[in-house]
């Protein structure tokens, strides 16, 4: 999404940025000029921030329009890994579709898709090691799925049912899994970004080689804790990867409102001396390669990396949202960086590792698996019909030990 051409600023008006297109307009991405796949250079992992400012304004891309992986960032993935990546993305998309439907059917209160952004979480997770920790937003379900977290547990969480790992306390999609390197999601935007830095500092203090990854949306970079994260990461050279997922929209607000006059979000890192990359987020290879580069940097003690992943939010913000009120319906289909699944698929087909038939078949298999899991999850309950965790759990885990006033309140509640 690009700003409309600069309004000549004549007093008396406040300059208010606007997206190129609104409902009724024909989608227009002519303002977005993306470098070709393979064009961006790949510096060594100990590059100094000041020597790679250009990468904050460029776009790291590996998969070209012909299904080839090209340029210096190619080669981070084996064929098996690429095939597994496709499957992870298909699963993520299928899972999303099922849960969206479940919400529409009234089986839960709320849901959020990652449609169109699957490559980012799925490919990123492959650069992490067991023990590393993500501090995600609500749109990184792909991290869990690609790292083997049980989808059944995710469904249980979304249904707030008797087997919900977080006991019905959180909105659907607000997962938590320490074992899978997935910090408990917060509803308050941006808070996790600086927490990730703290976790990474702790790892350094402890002499550990584990690293952290913070996640934030384009809109949420405007939040103040984006700043505290960059300040602390920069000052203490924290072993952290700070990921911005620029999916062009923050609910109804186009990314330009948070970005302001800077050409990219990656540029925000420059003023902190933090090496900053801008990456094609719909390119499974590019995401993985950038993530590995940053993870290697962090592990080698070279400190933080800021990455902007450029993508497009394919669905509504959430099930409470209707994007047709603020953006042209056709934008997603015409998004110039394409669909991450289609692009990886084209690569695999070009390499003869995959085919249209196997793709159809894989989708069907995954669909069957999801339906199966969903049935199983629903046996554990759904939000309104139950069973849900016992109401007495409402009073637990506020503190490690239940203090007297909560014991009294639980008794009053009769649970």
């Amino acid at each position: 999404m690009k700003d409309a051409p600069d309004q000549p600023h004549v007093a008396p008006t406040l300059f208010v940025p606007e997206p190129q297109c609104r409902p009724g307009d024909k989608p227009d991405f002519t303002g977005l000029v993306f470098p070709r796949a393979g064009d961006a250079r790949r510096p060594p992992i100990d590059a100094r921030a000041e020597d790679i400012h250009d990468l904050a304004y460029s776009l790291i891309r590996v998969l070209d329009d012909h299904g080839k992986a090209v340029g210096p960032w190619a080669g981070s993935l084996s064929d098996e890994e690429a095939l597994a990546g496709l499957r992870d993305m298909l699963k993520t998309r299928a899972y999303d579709a099922r849960m969206l439907l479940a919400q529409r059917q009234g089986k839960t209160s709320f849901y959020m898709l990652s449609l169109g952004e699957e490559a980012i979480a799925c490919a990123f997770s492959k650069a992490l090691r067991p023990g590393d920790m993500n501090f995600p937003t609500y749109r990184q379900q792909g991290l869990l799925i690609s790292s083997g977290y049980p989808i059944l547990d995710m469904m249980n969480q979304c249904y707030s049912n008797a087997k919900d790992p977080v006991k019905g306390r959180q909105l659907p999609v607000m997962y938590s899994s320490k074992a899978h390197g997935f910090f408990t999601i917060s509803g308050n935007l941006a808070t996790q970004f600086v927490q990730a830095v703290g976790w990474a500092m702790a790892s350094a203090i402890a002499g550990d080689s584990k690293i952290a990854a913070g996640w934030i949306g384009d809109g949420s970079t405007a939040e103040n804790d984006f700043h505290s994260a960059l300040v602390f990461a920069s000052t203490y050279k924290a072993p952290v990867i700070l990921n911005i997922v620029n999916n062009q929209w923050a609910i109804s607000t186009f990314e330009g409102v948070a970005r302001g006059r800077a050409p990219t979000f990656a540029a925000r890192g420059i003023g902190f001396g933090i090496p900053s990359l801008r990456v094609d987020g719909n390119d499974y290879f590019a995401v993985n390669a950038a993530a590995r580069w940053a993870a290697d940097r962090a592990r080698a003690g070279h400190g933080p990396t800021l990455i902007e992943f450029v993508t497009y939010r394919g669905g509504a913000h959430s099930t409470s949202d209707d994007p047709s009120a603020y953006r042209p319906k056709e934008e997603f289909a015409e998004w110039p960086l394409g669909d991450p699944i289609e692009r990886l698929k084209a690569y695999l087909i070009a390499r003869k590792l995959w085919s249209e038939e196997r793709h159809v078949q894989a989708r069907a298999e995954i669909e069957t698996e999801m339906v199966q899991l969903q049935k199983e999850a629903e046996k554990n309950g759904t939000l309104h019909l139950g069973p849900n965790p016992s109401p007495k759990t409402m009073f637990e885990d506020v503190y490690k030990e239940m203090p007297p006033h909560l014991v009294r309140q639980r008794q009053e509640a009769g649970v």
């Binding site: 008396p12 019905g168 306390r169 909105l171 607000m174 809109g219 109804s252 849900n388 409402m394 509640a413």
Partner: protein, 338 residues
């Protein structure tokens, strides 16, 4: 008179205020082109232009901080915080800045601004779309805190808040946006269209800040409530048959202590209802005031029905919510105590 939902009434208040006074500006996250996630500002950008109603970056501190600067300049910003749960990043600006600028400058600078924010639970919003932080404002000298319970009041109080020369926190009980929800979540809600408080004058009018309204006269016990709990209290009174006087506080600071005192002295009993966690909730202040000022009239201990001292849970929303049953039990208990 037109019938309005609470959303329409709030929108109409801003419309009227913007129409009458070019200094009034409206902004917030998604509040411009789209008109806000609850659609309270819908149409205002189209009518008044992008420079008077616009989308803000997702930065509550920035929203409050720039509003303070605008107010100091001489405008009258009326900003939207998407959920009261999200005012916390702007809490420093609200409580340490907006609240004290008149005082610390001895009136050299002032901050006539309104921060609107949806508050309370009842929409399965979980712990970050359900909180009721009124006590965190009421404790701060220099802020006024308003919480309407119906479309008529919402419009009249919001216009008064915008015209007020001090910073006003305007809490909108989101569960009341579409109708007078009484806590019976399993029953259909009456829409405002069929409620007399849904009748709202189309033009300019104000309801003064600092005055409570008696929603039901009664002789046996005084129920102090505000926002969503007003209708829960009314339902509890009907259902238990206790002849309760239900007072809708409408403004927490300044508080209409006179009306409270008069009623409690009359009934000799008092139950306070709110949705926020009990400990240090606004009910604590009300009980303290009642015990300080009506002690010799009380026939039973004043009590509180409140949210539990836990985060607002998702699945257990209706266990957490202080519904008519819990309020009813409190009414019965306070009547039994002699």
């Amino acid at each position: 008179m037109p019938r309005m939902t609470m959303i329409e009434a709030i929108r109409s208040a801003m419309d009227v205020a913007m129409e009458r006074d070019p200094r009034v500006v409206v902004f917030g996250e998604d509040a411009g082109y789209f008109g806000g996630v609850f659609r309270c500002t819908q149409g205002l950008q189209k009518k008044y232009g992008k420079h008077r109603c616009f989308d803000a970056p997702i930065s509550e501190s920035g929203i409050i901080g720039t509003a303070i600067g605008m107010a100091a300049y001489g405008l009258r910003p009326c900003v939207e915080i998407q959920f009261a749960d999200y005012m916390f990043p702007g809490y420093d600006q609200l409580t340490q800045e907006a609240a004290r600028i008149r005082y610390r400058s001895a009136g050299d600078f002032t901050v006539p601004m309104v921060a609107r924010m949806p508050t309370g639970g009842g929409i399965f919003g979980g712990q970050t779309h359900s909180q009721s932080p009124e006590t965190l404002f009421a404790h701060i000298p220099g802020l006024k805190t308003v919480i309407p319970s119906n479309p008529y009041d919402a419009k009249g109080l919001l216009i008064a808040a915008i015209e007020d020369d001090d910073p006003v926190i305007f809490l909108e009980p989101k569960r009341l946006y579409n109708g007078p929800f009484d806590g019976h979540h399993d029953r259909p809600v009456t829409p405002w269209k069929s409620h007399e408080l849904g009748e709202v004058p189309a033009g300019h009018f104000t309801e003064p800040l600092g005055r409570a309204a008696i929603r039901r006269e009664g002789r046996d016990v005084t129920i102090l409530a505000y926002g969503t709990m007003v209708f829960v209290a009314l339902a509890a009174a009907e259902e238990t048959g206790v002849d309760a006087e239900v007072i809708d506080l409408r403004t927490l600071v300044p508080l209409d202590l006179e009306t409270i005192e008069e009623s409690v002295k009359k009934t000799g009993r008092c139950v306070v209802v709110h949705e926020a966690p009990k400990t240090c909730g606004f009910g604590a202040e009300l009980l303290a005031l009642v015990s300080e000022r009506c002690f010799y009239h009380l026939e039973a201990p004043a009590t509180r029905v409140a949210g539990y001292d836990t985060p607002y849970p998702h699945a257990h929303e209706w266990h957490y919510f202080p519904g008519p049953k819990r309020v009813g039990s409190a009414l019965k208990a306070v009547m039994e105590n002699v």
